[in-house]
């Protein structure tokens, strides 16, 4: 139902690497799953609206006011707790490569 070529295309779109063995195996497995979900074509869905969320909540917004840095601020009856390190520092510590407070990544544009 899905060819190895299509599988490779999908893997590329999803930025996933797969080994040659996995290519074989995933093609089979995905084909059988896609076969199974073909069942959905049996249903008459004419005139039916799609449901994206169990309960339709609309326009959940906060007021357009300047907020104090609130990362980790949890007010409960007046008590506040805040992380000991500045939020940006804590988050940067998790990154594998940083420089001068920035995340380091491979170049996005290739120079030809």
């Amino acid at each position: 139902m899905i060819t190895k070529k299509e599988l490779r295309r999908i893997a590329k779109l999803a930025r996933l690497s797969i080994t040659k063995d996995e290519e074989e195996r995933f093609t089979k497995e995905l084909s059988s799953i896609l076969n199974y979900v073909e069942k959905l074509k049996e249903v008459d869905v004419s005139g039916v609206e799609p449901t994206s969320h169990p309960f339709e909540v609309e326009n959940v917004m906060r007021s357009d006011e300047n907020q104090k840095p609130s990362f980790h601020l949890w007010k409960r009856g007046g008590r506040r707790e805040r992380s000991s390190l500045r939020p940006s520092k804590r988050l940067l510590e998790l990154a594998p490569e940083t420089k001068d407070g920035y995340l380091k990544v491979k170049s996005i544009f290739e120079i030809n």
Binding site: I10, L16, E29, L30, L34, V37, P50, I108
Partner: protein
């Protein structure tokens, strides 16, 4: 009395009467985990310092004469896809192997504010994708009731921890049955709240229109206590709602229906006035005959208690599982796009030549994600890709509407729906892992509930007949499905079973 068998209320009494201290209780559980975790592997991380320091704080409060909340000093376990600040949070995946949570999930903050002691993080199927906890990158958890069998999934570690008395209660998450099915497999109680009842802030997202956090415990009452502590609208989760403000789903609403009033209403619930629906489509070929027998026995018990049992129809039942696959996989593919070993995580294989950013993504994600996760991401990517979106994802969304209509129609005639949780008994480790489709079938009765967003409880109602090699029979769970935000009703009905 064995400390690790105590319920929340019993612990609370024991602490105020000074029968034991919170530190003593905490140590007892930590020791038991040291003894049993190698065998069961319920816990990925044990947070001994965090636990003991909290227990000591509670003891100090008690000594100083303060009144402590009901949950204070109660040891808990948190599924490893829910963030606990400064403790590793792996989601059962290599890609987050070294990730240390920089903040607390809202539910964790709420529990900490009640004085709950967190013993550690429990094992799960990678990114909550699975029905057996065999998809964890760190190894499977074993069912404490039979170590050769799976505890269910994806919250297998949480359910096993409670079943093995390594924790008083645990938090799990449920996207397609991941609280209910392991609860059923391990013989404990599990609640999937109404979508929106509990904040998802700090839950590592799998499928955002389906995920919910919920409690797993030994008793229904314990589940109720924990649920009440973690529920509520959160400004950090715009899909969370304050239950008392939901108008449409409360038929008999009084002007001042406060939560406590509704609970009182639920408590006064006369079983004799209750109409329970049993979907005929759920008892077709494929269900294990022992499961069917035990479920039907439980339903009979409710009938003997005075409830009116009525056969109902949920005509689109056979489309629920494919519908779920085609909705959850795309949502997952979007939610997992963030894992790129750039903001957190890192590429382990340093020897690989990485020419450019594209290569970096491929290697990081190929190396970090297990097979099931990659399968689902690819399925999701396919279902959303140009040319297939209408045929798959959009179509599934429409079928989701039809399934919702089925449930709403049924709930006009009945107050609750009873169903099995799983068509199978807990299966052997390795039995289904090589056939993804057969694994997905575990969720056939649970996925509809996530698609429609209604609440459901898994209640241990009995054991199947023992197998040839003797010993105890395997546990069977009954699913009690309720109307949105009527968790109290399903919990009160669940309590009735134990007392009978």
């Amino acid at each position: 009395m064995e400390l690790t068998n105590l319920t929340i209320a019993q612990i609370h009494q024991g602490l105020i009467k000074k029968d034991f201290s919170a530190s003593e209780l905490c140590k007892t559980f930590l020791d038991k985990i040291k003894e049993k975790n190698k065998e069961i592997f319920a816990f990925l991380t044990v947070s001994e310092d965090l636990a003991l320091s909290k227990a000591k704080k509670i003891d100090d409060m008690i000594l100083a004469g303060y009144e402590i909340p009901l949950l204070a000093g109660v040891p808990s376990a948190i599924k490893d896809n829910i963030l606990v600040e400064n403790i590793p949070c792996t989601a059962g995946s290599r890609i987050l192997e070294d990730y240390i949570a920089p903040y607390d999930a809202r539910v964790v903050k709420k529990l900490k504010n009640q004085g709950v002691v967190i013993l550690g993080k429990t094992n799960l199927d990678e990114f909550a994708m699975g029905s057996s906890t065999e998809n964890s990158a760190f190894g499977p958890t074993r069912n404490p009731l039979d170590l050769t069998r799976v505890p269910g999934g994806s919250s297998g570690g949480s359910a096993a921890a409670v079943a093995a008395r390594l924790s008083v209660f645990a938090l799990g998450s449920d996207t397609g049955g991941s609280i209910r099915q392991p609860s059923s497999f391990c013989g404990v109680v599990g609640l999937k709240p109404t979508y929106g009842a509990v904040s998802r802030y700090g839950l590592i997202a799998f499928a955002s229109s389906l995920d919910q956090i919920g409690p797993i415990a030994k008793t229904v009452e314990d589940c109720q206590i924990v649920f009440n502590a973690i529920k509520g609208k959160d400004e950090m989760d715009s899909t969370s709602v304050e239950a008392s403000k939901i108008e449409n789903y409360r038929a008999k609403r009084r002007a001042s229906s406060s939560p406590s009033l509704l609970l009182a209403e639920a408590r006064k619930l006369k079983i004799k006035n209750l109409c329970i629906g049993v979907p005929k489509e759920y008892f077709v070929k494929g269900i294990n005959p022992e499961v069917e027998r035990v479920i039907k026995l439980a339903i009979k018990k409710y009938e003997e208690m005075g409830a009116y049992i009525k056969e109902i129809s949920l005509p689109h039942t056979e489309y629920a599982l494919p519908c779920y696959a085609v909705i959850s996989s795309p949502e997952a593919s979007a939610n997992l796009a963030r894992y790129d070993a750039i903001k957190y995580g890192e590429i382990k294989n340093k020897k690989l030549k990485i020419k450019n950013l594209f290569d970096y993504y491929l290697i990081a994600r190929g190396e970090g994600f297990g097979a099931e996760v990659r399968r689902r991401i690819m399925l999701g990517t396919y279902a959303l890709s140009a040319g297939y979106y209408e045929a798959y994802y959009l179509r599934a969304q429409k079928i989701r509407t039809l399934i919702k209509n089925d449930f709403e129609k049924a709930f006009k005639e009945v107050d609750l729906i009873f169903a099995p949780v799983s068509p199978f008994l807990p299966f052997k480790i390795g039995e289904r892992i090589n056939d993804p489709l057969s694994m997905y079938l575990s969720d056939i009765y649970t996925v509809s509930v996530n698609l429609v967003g209604f609440p459901a409880l898994s209640l241990p109602i009995g054991k199947a007949a023992p197998l040839q090699n003797g010993g105890e029979g395997l546990p069977v769970g009954l699913q009690i499905i309720g109307k949105p935000f009527e968790e109290d009703k399903i919990l009160e009905i669940g309590k009735l079973y134990a007392s009978n």
